[in-house]
Amino acid sequence: MKIAIVDYGAGNLPSVERALHKLGAETERAVVPEQLDSAKAIVLPGVGHFAAFVDGLRERNLTSSLRAAFDAGKPMLGICLGLQAMFASSDEAPGDPGLGFFPEKVCALPTNVKSPHIGWNQLRLVRPSKLLRGIAEDAYFYFAHSYAAPASAEFTVAACDHGFPFAAVIERQNLAAVQFHPEKSGETGAQALRNFVESVR
């Protein structure tokens, strides 16, 4: 079983890779569309700027393969900016369309709270989650972001509050996406990754 980790030219790829290897998963860095087409599952990690991210995907012709994988119901995990990129657009780069798996717009965190939202925060479960199976309800996850998708997004399974309620975990069939960094969230994060890896097997 091979999990393709989308390599768009920047980001937190090595730590995601290391975390998956520790769970016994086999991974490859996907730089061309064919690797996504043949992968059993796809991880879309990301940090940095929304525009750099979606442009990086487009430059490598990865956008349509990701879309096809989504339509085919291939297991997929988006992390941080990887979650945001699955939405239609973002306040961070108004002219740059996202992957558009979900119709909502990613918004900037409001100015009445510290931004970036950096640190460990808890989740509020909205409906049962496959990704969070076996994780205590009051567990903490590590976040580092200045933008977020609204918790009202249709497929939100867990929300977090920082200025406004935002989508912390999204699940739709075989797709999951998280605003936090599971690869940096200690044993709790490892459990979430384990749940994803096991869903692929």
Binding site: H49, G119, A144, D161, S185
Partner: protein, 254 residues
């Protein structure tokens, strides 16, 4: 449900070893960085900071190798820096496995470096480190490991750095560093109220009460310490338990 206050052990690294000084001088060996990192990761640290205090061009390769060795041990965030002068220095540290990079002297000399780094890696990955000495009712930033006065005001510099792209401020009181006389809560509160990004308080940590004070009076989002953790004066778990019992939100390990 709320954002936890973070406890961050700091590794000052020189020639591949963890060292610790008092008021930025008088270094002592504190052990192997990877071993200490593994211990802190296990004991419930929320994050780890490692600083190349030699910050010499020759030592660069050794430091990056140490970042790699430390990153291998962690499933919590890692911030690394010391002597970061260019975009390429920043990239090298992040590629070696750090999640965030700290900048100090080079940003004072050329503030645009903060914007360039933030544009490339995102504000969440850029930590401005400010080392200050108290001057009456204000604080003056110093560069080059506390050697050079800048003539600037710490609050003004912090605000400017955030407008340029710093996503976090690591604020060290040189006066308190290694003295175990408590954090400078006035300083931390001043900067925390000035900027819209998280502030990490550093310098002077000794007792549990010091941490409680810096999270309440000092309005710090995170607190960093070195000696007291290296020398096992306190365990992170005991510190967090103390804070939790007093209503400070912290992430308790289970």
């Amino acid at each position: 449900m709320s954002l936890a206050h973070r406890i961050i052990p700091c590794l000052d690294v020189d020639g591949g070893r963890v060292v610790k000084g008092i008021e930025f001088a008088g270094l002592r060996d504190m052990g192997d960085p990877a071993e200490l990192a593994a211990r802190y990761n296990r004991e419930g640290a929320d994050e780890l900071v490692m600083l190349d205090i030699s910050a010499s061009v020759q030592g660069r390769g050794t430091f990056l190798e140490t970042v790699r060795r430390v990153a291998e041990q962690l499933n919590i965030p890692l911030t690394a820096g010391g002597g970061i002068r260019t975009m390429e220095d920043g990239r090298a540290v992040l590629r070696a496995g750090a999640d965030k990079v700290t900048v100090n002297t080079a940003a004072v000399k050329r503030p645009e470096l903060l914007s360039e780094l933030a544009q490339q890696f995102g504000a969440q990955a850029i930590v401005l480190s400010i080392d200050v000495k108290r001057k009456g009712n204000s604080w003056e930033p110093y560069t080059r490991g506390g050697r050079d006065a800048t003539g600037m005001d710490a609050a003004e510099w912090a605000a400017k750095s955030v407008s340029l792209g710093a996503g976090e401020i690591l604020l060290t009181s040189i006066d308190r560093d290694g003295t175990c006389s408590g954090f400078d809560c006035e300083l931390t509160a001043k900067i925390s109220e000035t900027v819209s990004v998280p502030v990490i308080a550093s310098g002077g940590a000794n007792t549990f009460e010091d941490f409680f004070a810096v999270f309440t009076d000092g309005k710090a989002d995170a607190a960093l310490a070195a000696s007291i953790f290296h020398m096992e004066t306190h365990s992170i778990a005991a510190l967090k338990k103390f804070l939790a019992e007093r209503g400070v939100p912290v992430r308790l390990s289970r």
